[in-house]
């Protein structure tokens, strides 16, 4: 048990280091896209450690406690994440719904803390973040339920093994419509444009983060990196067939995150009502069609 | 669309509505009229009906010797391109002029600004008295001629003191220094010994 907890914490730490480095490399790639040199690849680490070294202001205990609760919730979520189909901390506890449930703890902690700051921009940002969450969860869950139905199991490692088994395609190819929906929902989860509405620096002054500075912001950054790690890994495991070894995982992870980032950087952002309308229109329709095709007709490539 | 005929058209409109004290043609596209304070509203109304729909500028000029403020309204008709300046003098003591918001709604903020900078009252404008550009101004309105920004600045904001040897002395630039000394002496003579 102790060993499992230790491995779990190591996975969370690994996720943080991995996502922070890949985030830094991505900043460089985006820099090239924007015709400039770009920062050093380890810039994100420096930013986070700098924030942790600063003095910060508190806005009451809810504000402080919410951040810690969110960070704790996210680290707990990351502990359950399998890296490859055989390497995970807690055997048989890698059910998909654990992640959905535990991710909400982090989100709610952040929402609580941001509302605790009392800044109106923050409360608008929190409202928008929760609305966006409602929007992307529905189509995403439909697609995932289709996958669970096909593979007959909701455990991530089982889903991975199902895709890796001979004769089965990875779900991105097997369920093309569902794969597209999954990727769009992933963009929404990551808060990439065009679904960046709840951060929106030029409209609501970076939304929930408006009152954070110093240590709390540093913790939020760590939280953000680990959240991205969880979400991208979920996509890799669910749709790209997971990984048999760690290098395959790193490769797939890098590709998914970079593609999402590149798409994000040539798009504008929607308004909040457009986000909701968008998700409830095409992705929802596509997800339902995919579910009907896959489950009732059994047409799976 | 000949500009000369446009100028004549303007002449006719203004002469039929009010008394012109002075007319100054400025260029092919611009003409100025000085009118009585009481005629301004009527002239603006008839000009607006004739197509001078745009109020380009509204402000005031201070003439302390005559003890008058001069209000300026500049109108433009895009289809018959002529700028018309309508000028009217008002008293400098307790200056007041009825607002032209009913004719040109766009004048609201110009009037507020004129009140702030010159102290002219505009009855009819709902909030001309509120402060707009400056915050808690504590002196006479700044664009009046008797306001001295230099004195105000010296009184209110400490300025940086530079020691005499602040700039490095260069042998090659001695002639420049002599010039500066000469200028300083000349300034002293001109201002009567004050700095």
């Amino acid at each position: 048990m102790i060993l499992s907890i230790f491995i779990g914490i190591s996975i969370a730490l690994f996720g943080f280091v991995l996502q922070t480095s890949i985030g830094g490399i991505n900043r460089k790639i985006i820099g090239r896209l924007q015709k400039r040199h770009g920062p050093r690849w380890y810039q994100e680490f420096i930013d986070i450690f700098k924030l942790l070294s600063k003095r910060s202001v508190s806005h009451g205990w809810i504000f402080d406690f919410g951040v810690i609760m969110a960070l704790g919730g996210i680290i707990a979520t990351a502990m359950f994440m399998p890296l490859t189909s055989t390497f995970l901390a807690f055997e048989n506890y890698d059910n998909f719904f654990i992640f959905v449930y535990l991710l909400a703890v982090g989100m709610l902690g952040m929402a609580m803390s941001a509302s605790g700051s009392g800044n109106p921009w923050a409360s608008i940002g929190v409202m928008r973040a929760l609305t966006t969450m409602l929007a992307y969860e529905v189509p995403f869950l439909i697609v995932v339920l289709t996958i669970v139905n096909l593979s007959g199991n909701s455990s991530l490692t089982e889903i991975m093994l199902y895709q890796q088994a001979a004769g089965n395609n990875i779900f991105l190819i097997a369920l093309p419509l569902g794969g597209i929906v999954g990727f769009i929902a992933l963009m929404g989860m990551l808060g990439k444009k065009p679904f960046e509405t709840y951060i929106a620096p030029a409209e609501i002054a970076s939304g929930p983060m408006v009152e954070y500075g110093g240590k709390q912001l540093g913790m939020l950054f760590i939280l953000h990196e680990i959240t991205i790690f969880i979400e991208v890994s979920l996509f890799v495991h669910l749709f790209l067939g997971g990984a048999t070894n760690i290098f395959e995982f790193l490769f797939k992870y890098f590709i998914v995150y970079t593609v999402a980032n590149l798409i994000s950087n040539v798009n504008g952002r929607f308004k909040i009502d457009q986000v909701v309308k968008f998700f409830y229109k095409w992705p929802l329709l596509m997800a339902v069609t995919q579910a009907i095709i896959a489950i009732y007709f059994g047409w799976v490539i | 669309m000949n500009s000369i005929s446009n100028l004549e058209a303007v002449d006719n409109i203004i002469n039929s509505t009010g008394k012109v004290i002075k007319k100054e043609p400025i260029s092919d596209f611009q003409v100025a009229y000085e009118v009585n304070k009481s005629d301004v509203h009527q002239i603006l109304t008839s000009l607006k009906l004739e197509g001078w729909k745009q109020l380009s500028y509204l402000s005031a000029v201070d003439w302390p010797e005559e003890n008058k403020f001069e209000l300026v309204y500049i109108l433009l008709n895009w289809d018959k391109p002529v700028y018309i300046q309508i000028r009217a003098k008002i008293d400098r003591e307790n200056p007041s002029m009825n607002s032209i918001i009913p004719i040109f709604p766009g004048a609201k903020y110009y009037e507020r600004e004129a009140h702030e900078f010159f102290g002219i009252a505009f009855p009819g404008n709902p909030d001309y008295k509120k402060q707009l550009i400056m915050e808690q101004w504590d002196d006479i309105p700044p664009l009046r001629k008797d306001f001295d920004p230099r004195a105000y600045s010296d009184r209110k904001y400490p300025s940086r003191e530079y020691p005499d040897n602040f700039s490095k002395k260069d042998k090659e630039n001695e002639s420049l220094e002599k010039q500066a000394k000469r200028r300083k002496r000349a300034r002293k003579l001109r201002t009567g010994g004050e700095e």
């Binding site: 409209e203 952002r269 929607f270 | 433009l76 903020y109 920004p149």
Partner: protein
């Protein structure tokens, strides 16, 4: 729900320049709004009354920062009208080159500014690097990047440097080839179009009510109301160009006109380089030493078409060595102050920053 008060600025990334929009919102919808100007006030009109005519040349470019040349042009035009001075032929053409470059740079900045409110920062980066090349050309011509003090009373400060023609032509070809890319990244990009189409409408009645000029007016009225066409200054009557118009004014059509105007400005500069005669570039406006220049009595209003609309100087001289009164008509005054108060309510918070950007609100010229 209770009305909540929000401050869009002065310290806010969506705000261009140092001004503040105060929003009273209910949910996401704006109920009331004001612009709080004055943060950039520096007593310009008072300062100019206290400085000599020649000293003012150094002061005026600072009225509007993104596009300083129009200030120099308006001041020079006004003074020349008072002096009844004829400017050498070549100076007119050089002035037009400078003004059109200034227009391109201001349009590129505003178009790149779309990247802020809509979140498409790549567009902003690309537009700014093209603008930076214009600043380099300015530096070669006048010696300064932003405040050139190049258009002076009686002509321009000095002649164009050797070999600048090829450089300008190369730059223009380069920019022209990239205009389609700008369209794809900005106004034709589906996710950006969703934000800018059918928002921030400007009906024709509102244009006349507020006194909006420039692109806002041309996009709403569908008529070529451009001072360069209607009452040409410099030599705009001798070059061929079109004034882009539209009959439907939303954020997208205004930005579309901006890109079209960049194309027209490119054409104008090319014609200027072709038609420019040789000769003097500057005449002395008045007798004697420059510190003792006097200008005859008179009142004059000199308008110039800036990138945001009609920009004018109202100048009064009483025959002395300094102007008696200088009034600046900021092009964005009506839509900045009255427009935000009257027509921003009803839109969403997201649109407030777009209003500031696409209406071309330049806070230094409102505050002066």
């Amino acid at each position: 729900m209770k009305e909540m008060k929000l401050f869009l600025g002065p310290q806010h990334p969506g705000m261009h320049g140092n001004a503040s929009v105060h929003l009273f919102v209910d949910g996401d919808i704006i109920k009331r709004s004001y612009l709080l100007p004055g943060m950039l006030h520096r007593g310009f009109e008072k300062q100019m009354e206290r400085k000599l005519w020649v000293n003012n040349i150094a002061l005026i470019p600072r009225v509007c920062v993104p596009e300083p040349d129009i200030n120099e042009m308006a001041f020079a035009l006004a003074t020349e009208k008072l002096l009844k001075l004829d400017v050498p032929e070549r100076a007119h053409w050089i002035r037009m080159i400078m003004l059109e470059f200034a227009r391109i740079s201001a349009h590129l900045m505003a178009y790149g500014g779309l990247g802020g409110p809509t979140g498409n920062y790549t567009l902003m980066y690309h537009a700014h690097i093209d603008r930076n090349l214009i600043l380099d050309i300015f530096e070669k011509i006048s010696g300064a990047r932003i405040y050139h003090q190049y258009i002076v009373i009686g002509g321009v400060r000095k002649d164009l440097p050797e070999g600048i023609d090829e450089e300008i032509n190369a730059y223009l070809n380069d920019l022209e080839s990239r205009l389609n890319e700008y369209r794809d990244l900005g106004i034709d990009n589906p996710s950006v179009v969703k934000r800018i189409k059918d928002t921030i409408m400007l009906p024709e009645a509102v244009v006349w009510e507020l006194g909006v000029t420039g692109i806002g007016m041309r996009s709403a009225t569908n008529k070529p109301y451009d001072i360069r066409k209607v009452m040409p200054y410099a030599r705009y009557n001798q070059v061929e160009f079109e004034v882009p118009i539209s009959d439907y004014s939303d954020a997208r059509s205004r930005l579309d006109i901006k890109i079209k105007e960049v194309q027209q400005s490119i054409n104008i500069i090319r014609q200027c380089l072709d038609k420019m005669p040789e000769g003097e570039v500057r005449v002395k406006p008045s007798r004697g030493q420059s510190m003792r220049w006097t200008v005859p009595k008179g009142y004059v209003y000199a308008p110039v078409e800036s990138s945001r609309g009609e920009f004018g100087y109202y100048m009064v001289s009483n025959g002395g060595t300094t102007p008696w009164r200088v009034g600046v008509r900021g092009a964005s005054y009506p839509q900045g102050l009255l427009g935000i108060e009257k027509y921003l309510p009803g839109t969403r918070i997201d649109d407030a920053a777009l209003w500031v950007d696409t209406m071309g609100i330049c806070s230094p010229e409102i505050d002066r």
